[in-house]
Amino acid sequence: MLEIQNLHKSFGQEKVLEGLDIKVNKGEFLSILGPSGCGKSTLIHMIAGLESVSSGKILMKDREVKAPGTDRILVFQNGALFPWLNVKDNIAFGLSNVKAEESSGDSRAAKKTKKSKKDKFSDEEKQQRVEELMKKVHLYQFRDKYPHQLSGGMKQRVSIARSLAMDPEVLLMDEPFSALDEQTKMVLHEELQRIWLETKKTIVFVTHNIREAVKLSDRVLVMGSHPGKIIKEIPIPYAHPRKVTDPNLVEMEKVIMESLKDEIEKRTKEEFGDGYPMEESGVFSGHNYTMGDGI
């Protein structure tokens, strides 16, 4: 479905990503987990075609990704809703760009054939899609509200619905829940899991939250930083839907935490200097499984 081959990315002299090889299978929920600044956001922007590739390849159904395309839709960290559009219009915003047999990436080719290509959805279908999605994310009664009237969780649900409306082959999610409070986050985990099970979409999910990754994913890729690379691949072989209290999952969290030990030590040394009492601090034995900005 989606394949990343020997991908490198640098900003000037700074190497951000080095030699990434990733294969995403159809229908899979893949999480990319890493500390802040490891380049995971850059990676997902590159898959979306919003960021250029320094070297290596991103292949979507064997075609190289060079530009944004409606086969890969990104859910942004803060929702990125258009404040001048209500919920309904935000969700419908990109629908007219979905063309029949839309293929990956090459916007130039798409432009040439634009006139001959028909919209994938008729006007009635568009309307129906939007209505269905509003119901799916439980926002039907808020359809005429504007983004400033919505809570953070509602905004993110609109954003997810807007992305699903495009019927993408792959749904890309860039830390979509990181700005939400813990309760809202839990509700949205359930929602996303349900949506995923219903729609069977392929999802690439970027996060720094271990619990989130373990609960939702089929497979977790753990990233290290400076430069960003995959340090471990961890399959989560348990059936969905899952409960976070499941002892298997708690065990998984520990495994991931362990694999990140070196990474955290490295970063802590960078930020605190050598004097930080790593062993006594309880970072690895406590319950702090989420990696925020403050590690």
Binding site: H45, A48, G49, L50, P68, G69, T70, I73, L74, F76, N78, A80, F82, P83, W84, F93, G94, N97, V98, S107, K111, Y146, P147, H148, R162, M166
Partner: protein
């Protein structure tokens, strides 16, 4: 409100001290009387309408031209680097300074005055529009591209709407600047506007009329700003999540 009342009382007290003769320093009652008389005798309404007509025409051109130039400057760096550098110095020239030139260029006094009004609001409208276009949240642009929009559509469907709050602020400022420009132009120039009534008061040595006209000018500016522009601006800023 209490403060306003205090000022009026103070004014009346100074007036009663009789330091200056009545015609030089009228009291509030006299001014109110002059206002009432002016309106009932039909001197003020035609003058106000004349002024408003010039204001509307000039303002319209200031806003339309300002938006067009502002959008182009926001879009094309080369234009901003050339034209943009002269906008700021031009803005610091009070627009009434253009009147002698305008009177020469346009043989008609009316067009010259409207020209001054346009100049009065134009620079601000340009700068606010440019700032709005350039200040669009880059994530919204990325999001538009992500949802399949190309260059032109990104501009009309994302950048322009996102720049609306800034443009509204520009329109509000332009209105105030146009109004000032017009009054200055009318005092110096010709025609039957509020500025002329004010100058007529001066020529007659009737400061009561001068003050009455000042009140009309202030009230017109305040009402249009408070009831139209401030409300519109608040509404837009709230919806765009900027306040």
């Amino acid at each position: 409100m209490a403060f306003l009342a205090a000022i009026i009382i103070l004014w009346e007290m100074v007036f009663r001290l009789g330091i200056w003769p009545d015609f030089m320093f009228p009291g509030p009652l006299q001014v109110v009387q002059t206002l009432i008389r002016g309106f009932s005798e039909g001197n003020y309404v035609p003058a106000l309408l004349n002024s408003l007509r010039r204001l509307f025409i000039g303002y319209f051109f200031a806003v339309v031209l300002g938006m067009i130039i502002g959008v182009l400057m926001g879009r094309f760096k080369s234009l901003e680097e050339t034209l943009g550098t002269v906008i700021l110095p031009l803005q610091s020239v009070p627009s009434v300074v253009w009147l002698p030139l305008a009177l020469l260029w346009f043989s008609m006094g009316e067009s010259a005055m409207i020209f001054v009004v346009v100049i009065g609001g134009l620079w601000n409208m340009i700068m606010s529009t440019t700032a709005g276009i350039k200040g669009v949240d880059p994530v919204l642009i990325q999001c538009g591209r992500n949802l399949g929009f190309g260059g032109g559509k990104i501009f009309t469907k994302v950048i322009l709407p996102a720049a609306i709050p800034s443009m509204i602020t520009g329109m509000r400022l332009a209105w105030a600047f146009c109004w000032r420009a017009l009054m200055a132009a009318e005092i110096i120039g010709t025609g039957q506007g509020l500025g002329q009534v004010l100058m007529w008061g001066r020529d007659m040595g009737n400061m009561s009329t001068v003050m009455a006209v000042m009140f009309i000018i202030a009230a017109t500016g305040m009402i249009s700003d408070g009831f139209v522009f401030k409300r519109l601006e608040d509404k837009v800023y709230r919806q765009w999540g900027l306040m």
